[in-house]
């Protein structure tokens, strides 16, 4: 029997098999940000240990960082303390850090690919559940907690029990105007927020291989919303071309050798998955979330569901709670739902292609009166590229608020960007949990295209409705 891509990558990183079924995996790259890490460094220090491989570790500041004026100090004393500790911890242990103001700074999952650090067949971890993003390169990329961060800092390894394999095949072609974001929302609506639990998802099929690297990152990003610890896509020419354009790549002979290795990284024809899901891309349309978990998503052309629409009692109760929290009435057209704000950004949709897609919708149009559209670049590089292409002018002319600083911003609402209680946003992030974008906030997850069109009308709108 053959192996899946995930099994191959896993097997090539086993340092040692434990007696109890755990594998000790070697970690090729650990990424760090300022939240979730101070405690790991504290304990490392207290136990008299050090960082084994600072050269396989990279830090950035993203969660707390201001977006309006990056020279302004972080207002919140605790957030400021996290950033200070990030700096002193990285300095103490010799870990390179992209501080606020550096040209390499940005959301951890955006900068690592930008800098050519995420490559096929690697194992990558980060103190952040959306590390799944990096699976787009055919890497095994996992989110971990602070104790595991400490473990990787000290040993460059992580004990893990093998995960199961879930194949998600998307046949056919995505219709015009339908994006990777819609695809992943449709998948989660189909298999549920626990559908991928205990599994690594491999995305396959014509509609997946047709996606750009950035769109693949959007897809893999939300694997965790499907309950998966990781999601990946086999590397192909699209991956290699992207990597060839990145800094820090090996040159000539070494590049050829790496390329030859990367080409072996695919699931064998006779490999067996534990679970398989097949979607038809042609059936998809722009999706939007209506509830308080990403599984509560429907086509934008649909109506707000009623609790009784769900056969399962658990889903019915969850729908009742979600409708109350979201202040939505069953039967309302999703396209009649009005929003107070639009947020374009995050590690799901804060890359240059996302900004281009939004600019294409906004060009020659205006953000509707009284609505705040905030656009936060995923990284300093994204911001610069957008300026080079004149997207900043498109946003300014449309009346959108294109922020100077890069970071998580209103995805996590840890900096000062947040919704007021009761406010409703169309947002390109990945989580519509209660209070995610500020206490009492209401989030509808959408694609960048839908976000931009929604900013124009003030109601949940797809560009084709404009």
């Amino acid at each position: 029997m053959g192996s899946t891509l995930a099994q191959k990558v896993w097997a090539s990183h086993v340092v040692r098999q434990g007696d109890a079924g755990d594998d000790l995996l070697y970690i090729d790259l650990q990424l760090l940000h300022e939240v979730n890490t101070p405690q790991a460094f504290d304990r490392l220090r207290a136990s008299g240990r050090t960082v084994r491989r600072p050269d396989l570790t990279l830090g950035t500041e993203d969660h707390n960082t201001p977006t309006i004026d990056i020279r302004r100090r972080i207002e919140d004393p605790e957030g400021r303390r996290q950033s200070e500790l990030m700096r002193s911890n990285c300095a103490e242990f010799g870990i390179p850090l992209h501080r606020l103001g550096d040209s390499g700074q940005g959301i951890v999952h955006v900068i690592a690919p930008e800098q050519g650090l995420t490559r096929p067949g690697m194992t990558i971890v980060c103190c952040d559940s959306h590390t799944t993003t990096l699976g787009a390169f055919g890497a095994l990329a996992f989110g971990i907690g602070a104790s595991q961060v400490e473990h990787v800092l000290a040993t460059q390894t992580l004990p893990m029990r093998p995960l199961k394999n879930l194949s998600v095949t998307v046949d056919g072609r995505l219709p015009e105007g339908v994006t990777a974001k819609d695809l992943i929302l449709a998948l989660i609506a189909e298999i549920g927020t626990a559908g991928g639990q205990g599994h690594i998802i491999e995305y396959r099929g014509a509609a997946v291989t047709a996606l750009s690297m950035e769109a693949r990152m959007t897809l893999c990003n939300m694997s965790v919303e499907a309950g998966s610890r990781a999601g990946l896509i086999a590397p192909d020419q699209c991956t290699f071309d992207y990597l060839a354009s990145r800094p820090n790549m090996p040159t000539s002979a070494a590049w050829e050798a790496e390329l030859a290795h990367w080409r072996t990284l695919r699931t064998d024809d006779d490999a067996v998955f534990d679970k398989e899901v097949v979607l038809n891309a042609a059936d998809l349309s722009p999706y939007v979330s209506w509830g308080t978990n990403p599984g509560q998503s429907i086509p934008l052309t649909a109506k707000v569901p009623a609790p009784d629409d769900f056969a399962d009692e658990e889903a019915r109760t969850a729908a009742e709670r979600a409708l109350a929290y979201m202040d939505l009435r069953p039967g309302t057209e999703m396209r009649d739902v009005t929003v107070d704000a639009v947020f374009l950004g995050s590690c799901t949709n804060g890359r240059i292609e996302d900004l281009r897609a939004a600019a294409d919708v906004l060009r020659g149009r205006k953000v509707t009166d009284g609505l705040h559209m905030m656009i936060v670049p995923g990284s300093v590089q994204v911001r610069r590229q957008a300026e080079e292409e004149g997207l900043d002018r498109v946003f300014a002319e449309a009346g959108a608020d294109f922020r100077a600083g890069a970071g998580c911003s209103m995805c996590a609402a840890l900096n000062e960007d947040r919704l007021a209680p009761g406010q409703r946003a169309a947002s390109t992030n990945n989580r519509n949990f209660e209070g995610r974008q500020g206490k009492g906030s209401r989030t509808h997850i959408v694609s960048p295209q839908v976000a931009a069109a929604t900013a124009v009308t003030g109601r949940l709108t797809s560009p084709s409705d404009l």
Binding site: V15, A20, G21, D22, L24, Y26, D28, L29, V35, N36, Q39, D42, R49, R52, P54, D55, L56, T57, D76, E78, R81, L85, I95, P96, L117, R119, M122, S129, I144, G145, A146, S147, Q148, E150, A154, T155, Q156, T157, P159, T193, Q197, G227, S228, R229, P250, A254, W255, E258, H261, N293, E314, T317, A318, A413, L414, R431, E434, G435, R436, K439
Partner: protein, 195 residues
Amino acid sequence: MKKFTVHRGTAAPLRRTNVDTDQIIPVRFCASTTRDGHADALFADWRADPGFVLNKPEHRDATVLIAGNDFGTGSSREYAVWALQDYGFRAVLAPRYGDIFRANSLMNGLVTVVLPAPDIEWLWELVEAGPATCVTVDLEGLEVRAGGRAFPFSLDPESRHRILGGIDPIGSTLQHEDDIARYEAGRRPALPITV
């Protein structure tokens, strides 16, 4: 990590599914830089509601949390585990957990037991009818006992061994430093470095 062998305490029935870590501890409390001091942040938004289960005097001192499906989904914040422990919880019983939360809980010795949904329902009814009922979580015997019934559960042997002995996982791994060094020596030289 505090050792855990057998724990006996009262339980709080949390009749909710898909409790994500943003609910367990809202992000505004995650700017802290310590592992402790998170007790008040636990379920902070829900605790504003006087009817919330942890606000009921009869469940206030609970040390076992009985939750619905998919407890601890979402963000990887270990604060969720620390907040539960700070508040006083030693164990959680639920049919299913978010993967990262589960891993975090076991790293910290918060025993997260998987029990089938019907058993959770039975336990909810039991502790709702009699909040003083003691629930025993026996990690040695791999069994939950309450109301005259016993519910066997399983846990991966590695985690069980570690939690029973209060063993530091990093220390265990470092015993295999030779293996790590040997693996390291064989890595392809073209793999990226960050410096």
